[in-house]
Symmetry: C2
Subunit: 528 residues, 2 copies
Amino acid sequence: MADETAMRKRDLLALIGAAGGGAAMYFAMTALGQAAASDYAGPIRLDGDPKGASVLVLGAGVAGMVAALELRRAGYRVQVLEYNARAGGRTWTIRGGDTYTELGGATQHCDFADGLYLNPGPWRIPYHHRALLDYCRRLGVTLEPFIQVNHNAYLHARGVFGGKPQRLGAVQADFNGGIAELLAKATDQHALDATLTAEDAGRLLDSLRGWGALGADYRYRPGRAASQRRGWARPPGGGLTAEPIASQPLALADLLRAGFWRALATGMEYDYQTTLFQPVGGMDMVARGFVRAVGDLIRYNARVGAIHQDDRGVTVTYTDRTDGSTRQAHADWCVCTIPLSVLNQIDIQVGGPMKAAIAALPYAPGLKIGLQFRRRFWEEDEAIYGGISYTDLPVTMIGYPNTGYFADGPGVLLGAYAFGPYAYEFTALDPAARVARAVADGAQIHPQYHAEFLSGMAVGWHRVPWTMGCFGLWSRESRAAHYRDLCAIDGRIVLAGEHASYIPAWQEGAILSSLDAIARLHRRVVAP
Amino acid sequence: MADETAMRKRDLLALIGAAGGGAAMYFAMTALGQAAASDYAGPIRLDGDPKGASVLVLGAGVAGMVAALELRRAGYRVQVLEYNARAGGRTWTIRGGDTYTELGGATQHCDFADGLYLNPGPWRIPYHHRALLDYCRRLGVTLEPFIQVNHNAYLHARGVFGGKPQRLGAVQADFNGGIAELLAKATDQHALDATLTAEDAGRLLDSLRGWGALGADYRYRPGRAASQRRGWARPPGGGLTAEPIASQPLALADLLRAGFWRALATGMEYDYQTTLFQPVGGMDMVARGFVRAVGDLIRYNARVGAIHQDDRGVTVTYTDRTDGSTRQAHADWCVCTIPLSVLNQIDIQVGGPMKAAIAALPYAPGLKIGLQFRRRFWEEDEAIYGGISYTDLPVTMIGYPNTGYFADGPGVLLGAYAFGPYAYEFTALDPAARVARAVADGAQIHPQYHAEFLSGMAVGWHRVPWTMGCFGLWSRESRAAHYRDLCAIDGRIVLAGEHASYIPAWQEGAILSSLDAIARLHRRVVAP
């Protein structure tokens, strides 16, 4: 892609260090395209007879289970080793009754009410993640819309607007109105005569008036047009008490000071455009769908210690976590989907280039906190149904559940989704203190937090024993130096996962990486 | 509200006559705020004993059933007369097995497959329509998200981009990028120095770069930043075939020529902001909810011919449409929700001001066509899940179903939603020809129409016998002259419905009008 628009790692690091903290990190990741589209063109075809060849798949996350499913379908003998007692990897949902122990030993018990959950990992599926959507269809995973942009959710910045959260729709209206008015003024003052023909300038003015909800004088001001975008001071009604009262726009200078355009921009990113989906019941419904297809191939609680190969096959030594015994598994080939953060600590017999690639990729920190409340006050009191509020507080985001709308009884929202330094700040605390901190932050946006809070669960990905990080954080330089070496087949071993894709952090990247890896492996196996 | 932003009826009529036709009319109505928010503050309280007073409610649409429900709850004896054999009025859903006969006698039989439907009237519920949402909750009507803005739906204009439809998300990215680049240029050239402080100008440039996906040189150009908004030429993938290729933005001059900003602006209107809802199963689930509560009060097939009153009560003469017999109903009071287009033809004994008001309000034409196809090609081939495509062809819009995503088998989409002259153009044809016309128009956007089309249903509201129009088309002048007279209680009669609200065309307006009317009626009844 064009050089001038590719961000460099040093830009990213500068952003990480910037005053914005977690929010800046998040927006930077978005801008970097840590997430993107898919080039999936339909179910993979692996033609040709593998003649009984066997494959050992390491890791029963999405990448591993795709490999297992498709390789068995193509005629391979497949076995899968998985560290956890469940499949899915980062495709994970925490519900009431679940227990989670992080690095260091801190254990949390989840007491969320029936039907409520936290997706600590992926939580949304863009419409253009064609491979994942196709597997959902093939595996019978039911999807429902995920609301990314909620115009009635909040934008909040400390020290701007007296710390009062503003509705996203009003901010959008006022930002658009503000820049439309400025551009109309510049156009009217002939500042752009060298750039625009007179006809284009006329059309531009028309468009700015309509798009920006400007008045006939091309000014953005209180009135019907602006209120029909940003909402009313008194909304219109019926009968004799019906006449509406226009609302007062926010000043553009204040909006710029708050940096609210970042959240508006995020909502326009390709990965967050409509229509997004989520599995009904939690993201691990994707994992369960795969388990229905390949669960019989998976050995759980298998901690891989060594991956050796010779010219006849691959031998994996692992510990059975249920009894501590050491075991071995053998196969002709190996698809290894273990996160590089973990694989880098495993004795793997591959060449220097792949080893260097495995060692080169840092993993991003990341943290999610689910908070359970007595009632859905964000719906009942504030008419927020799904979507995300943004703040410059460490919690960074508050994500409202995109399901069970209007339900009585308790609800769980995403009380924090933090990156960069903020993620580390949270995990420096013990889990209970993290939750308390999320409640304190969130109460600045929703004062109801104090009265309604019940319990919480905090997952810091850099403290998850089996990933030690959220996702592989590629830079332009590290990709140039290592990406091809990471993906190349080394003897009888090929790697797959989001880290071996251009769609890091997304399940789609894991799937496409896996499909690419097994297609190449299969070509090698059936080659004459 | 402020004078300078209120559009006048002559502006509207000018728009109706403009070249844009139906699309212009639609966008004009949106801009006029024919739709807006709600000042509902919770269930109505009608304190005080009506002492056995009786009320005759005319019309079992949403306004009438709200009146029936709340007045009975307050202690009134209530009866409802309804023209149709069903309740709901414009809150109407057509399904397979339904038959519809319009003015002039043309009859259509619907053969949509099980579970598929067309909502000829209202089809979406904004999050701020608090009254309707509250009734849905009270009446057990289950809601699901309605997708208004789908970034992967199309914008289409004849003669621009060679008639090739463009994805809304790409248009939005390119429009925003284009105006951000222009404003950055003007700012950089000091054209706005009199308006902005240097600090604000610096923040504005930062925001334009991020919000508009500009490069470091503040230009909008092909590359990662733009592609992460508008989509990629080749999307990123996994493994060794993964590197993405940037896409080419559309020229701002072409976008302006196409007028695509109108559709972008529509998606930002308060009424269409997230999160919108629709009832699971069709909008008439709202009517069915009310029927569960007040169905026992409704006499169906009652065509009202005369509404007389004296100082003791109201007498309504009606025809029983099942046997042609003439009957009468009596009550102390009357809440009349009959559309003014029909009421204007009925012998109603009210004073001159209300009569003049009834006669003064024109009704907007409007047309919806539902098209059934063999399969959901818009999902399968084009990854469009819900939402709306816009075209300057007479069909004006194509609305994709916001439910049953990823389902196999036939699907029904909204093949036309036309206003103004285009609505009349369609109804000048017989229903089969209207459907054929919608198929021909839509095939310019979705060529699959030709191979996949099964059947259609066309409802032109100005030809619906019991409304003879889509909704009451108020202008600033007609409101000033007649609105209060329309809403005032005349003797023992009060009117209600969307026509007696500032939220015309929406169920919320009908409900709030009804609540305001019965509150005033009740105060009169219980007054000492």
